[in-house]
Symmetry: C2
Subunit: 465 residues, 2 copies
């Protein structure tokens, strides 16, 4: 293979900069074009997605490119959910019964800056900022860009183009509008939007509430969450319907209404956020959407990756992790078929799409779990039981959450199928009394395993597979 092949990457976000780093390590000549300015020089965050959950699937990619320690320095471990009820009482619900398993809060900007720095260490990687992609000619493998400052337009060609330009991908739009091939595509919006708020540090720079948790104020039809930042602050996000219910984004239009809403539903959070009204009216309300599409590639010319191929809602904390895992999976396929881009792209999509479809669906599941089910008695009983099983049988049991988040050796689809069957088994056995919590945990484990297998087998037979 000609190592000097030109790879054009559209978008220098988390996925694009990681991919550039990896392709640089592999010796390709990599050019990255990013529409925004260099975030290492300009503060771009304006109340949207300031921090993210980073976990084991993402870490596979970070290990692959050899910067695990540098990323770890940016992480704040979150060992579980801190559930806040309407009275302000809290319960801590761990993510896993295995002590070493946790997720991490990480700053989007700091991680992106690190990846850009690492990518630029390679002489064969060039990153250009303020270059907005306008369209991609996937038949000719060229892309049209516009310089933000000069407004001049220019065309770049390459041996292959990989678009990592996010949920609003321009290359995906070129696929859709081009009508040159059958392009399956979906964009699905939730009826809820989100708005970022913040809990500032104390005067001494300390955390105002427990640091090592993802805080959740679940209120069934809406919720508030908070993730810690290294500077002692928390990034808070309100998920709320645009239109439905007594309080919604369309009718929270005055200072008084906002205070009233927070006082009624998030009393303890309000005490930590004297700044809530300012944040509420300063920060935008953003939609929550899922994007799926296929094919991701056009012949051996172009490929969609990361959010450009599969944008998901944030509720499983897997958006970035899924995009990072894309790079790992792509890299594996490249080992096997390098030199034949069409086969690389086709093989990659054939093995990967089922998993990104699954995490999209799981993320919707978790929206309902976080805002409501965490308050449900039978659901809590299930979680407590699962924590006990994971603790006593660390090698024999993993909850759906663990399968998705900590079992990075299996794909999202397998995690989804097994995880949903386990949930169904436990919830039904708790409901009909088949599970007796006073039984030996070993007996309970066997019952859960047997019932889970029966559920999976019934589904297989009904599907005539």
């Amino acid at each position: 293979m000609n190592k000097q092949q030109n790879i054009l990457i559209i978008g220098a976000g988390l996925c694009g900069s990681l991919l550039a780093l990896r392709m640089g390590q592999r010796g390709y000549k990599v050019s990255v074009y990013e529409k925004r300015p260099d975030l290492r020089q300009v503060n771009l965050d304006s109340g949207r997605s300031i921090n993210l959950a980073f976990s084991d699937r993402g870490n596979k990619a970070i290990k692959l490119v050899g910067i695990e320690d540098k990323v770890k320095a940016l992480c704040i471990p979150m060992n579980g959910r801190m559930l806040h009820d309407i009275e302000g009482n809290t319960v801590f619900a761990p993510y896993s019964g295995r002590e070493h398993e946790h997720i991490n809060s990480i700053s989007r900007g700091a991680l992106n800056a690190l990846l850009l720095d690492e990518a630029e260490k390679h002489q064969n990687v060039s990153i250009y900022f303020n270059k907005k992609c306008k369209s991609v000619n996937f038949e000719k493998t060229t892309a049209l860009f516009q310089d933000y400052e000069t407004k001049n337009e220019f065309i770049e060609d390459a041996d292959v183009i990989i678009a990592t330009d996010g949920a609003g991908s321009i290359m995906r739009q070129s696929y859709y509008l081009g009508k040159k091939f059958l392009f399956s595509f979906s964009q699905d919006y939730l009826t809820h939007g989100y708005k970022e708020l913040s809990i500032f540090p104390t005067e001494n720079g300390d955390y105002k509430t427990y640091k090592n948790a993802l805080h959740i104020w679940g209120r069934d039809s809406f919720m508030l969450i908070a993730l810690p930042n290294l500077d002692g602050s928390f990034t808070v996000t309100l998920f709320l319907s645009y239109d439905d219910g007594a309080y919604n984004f369309n009718n929270l239009t005055t200072k008084e209404r906002v205070i009233e809403f927070f006082r009624k539903y998030f009393k303890d959070a309000l005490e930590l956020m004297p700044n809530v009204v300012d944040d509420f009216f300063k920060n935008p309300t953003s939609p929550l959407g899922t994007v799926k599409c296929s094919p991701w590639h056009y012949k051996g010319n172009t490929l969609l990756m990361g959010d450009a191929a599969h944008a998901i809602v944030p509720f499983y904390g897997q958006g970035m992790n899924a995009s990072f895992e894309d790079v790992v999976e792509f890299d594996k396929v490249l080992d096997t078929y390098k030199g034949d881009w069409e086969t690389v792209f086709k093989t990659y999509e054939a093995s990967r799409k089922k998993d990104t479809d699954a995490i999209a669906d799981l993320a919707i599941d978790n929206f309902h779990e976080m805002k409501g089910h965490v308050n449900n008695a039978i659901f809590r009983e299930k979680r407590n039981l699962e924590m006990a099983l994971e603790k006593q049988f660390p090698n024999d049991y993993s909850s759906k959450y663990s399968l998705v988040t900590f079992n990075e050796a299996i794909g999202y689809q397998e995690a989804m199928l097994r995880g949903r069957a386990q949930d169904k088994a436990i919830l039904n056995m708790l409901n009909d009394g088949t599970l007796n919590l006073k039984d030996d945990l070993k007996i309970i484990l066997e019952k859960v395993k047997k019932e889970t297998e029966a559920i999976l087998e019934d589904d297989r037979i009904a599907g005539l597979k």
Copy 2:
């Protein structure tokens, strides 16, 4: 309510012409704009969708507008599937155990012509042909048209616009491209396409094979079907992958390959189609897609209906029936909320969308059933059992097929949930020996009902509903 409100309907296909008729009957001033010429004067069919399956849900609408007898005269009853195996052997599999239940083959063109004639009998209904819609301004409730002959463009306004302009709806595209509101949208293509072929009548004008059935040559990864026409011919459709398998649309490029393919897999059909090669190369290959979207309406100004709102694949024979049922459901809501279009549109979508989503998914299910499962031993055993149950307990049992096709009093979603649970119950009980076919049918019925309820209940608990 002002009965002289102007209703603009885009598209005079089956749904649009039925809607025009109904709105005309209600006294509205209705203008219909259709991009094609008047099909009563020009033969438009060119190897695409010449006949359709018409059944009970469609007939609800035909009864509503009072033309049941006229439609009946166009119908050829199909009482079941005639399954053709690879050797040319046939088995007849009825659609129902209740003798009066059947579906009908009907000519799209003849039915459309009838609906246009009936609509035009109303002085308050005007239909304009050769007027192509270019875009809809849903904020102003206006539509831009182009005259096919003069090429002149003109704008029409109305009190409300209802787009019944099919799977490629221009108004839906205006919603999508307008980005004025969050528009969820999906287009999903199967990897299979279709091509229409034909079996001509005998020299005496007789049917060359059994008239009152839907013929199926299911070959697991592809299939051929045939529906009878009033003139003694059959419209035949080949469903085949574009790319996969030894024979596919992309590699069937020579006369010899086409003959070889038919000789190998459809020996008995080939004997009835000496014209197959001509048809194959003359007729286009068309894609099979599902379209879902939401919202269907913009405020009280505009509404999508029929395929424009929910295009489905043809395998349940429900595309036209679903669109006709739209008119019935819309008409009901109009009775309740007439005078308040926004409430009419919102209420209609809120009650209807779950059902059109369900029939879209059911139609995909049936693709797999028709091409493969009909040949599967346990599936045939299930169907035989269900026919016996329907025959012996006509008021107590309906298969999934019957729930969808003949139980027009329940919605598609309810039919889907109950039908899938029944299938799962029977297939699993047959598989594990819980059902003994020598048992009394009454005992079998009770077992099936009990197991179906258990499956639905387990799902409810797992969903925490």
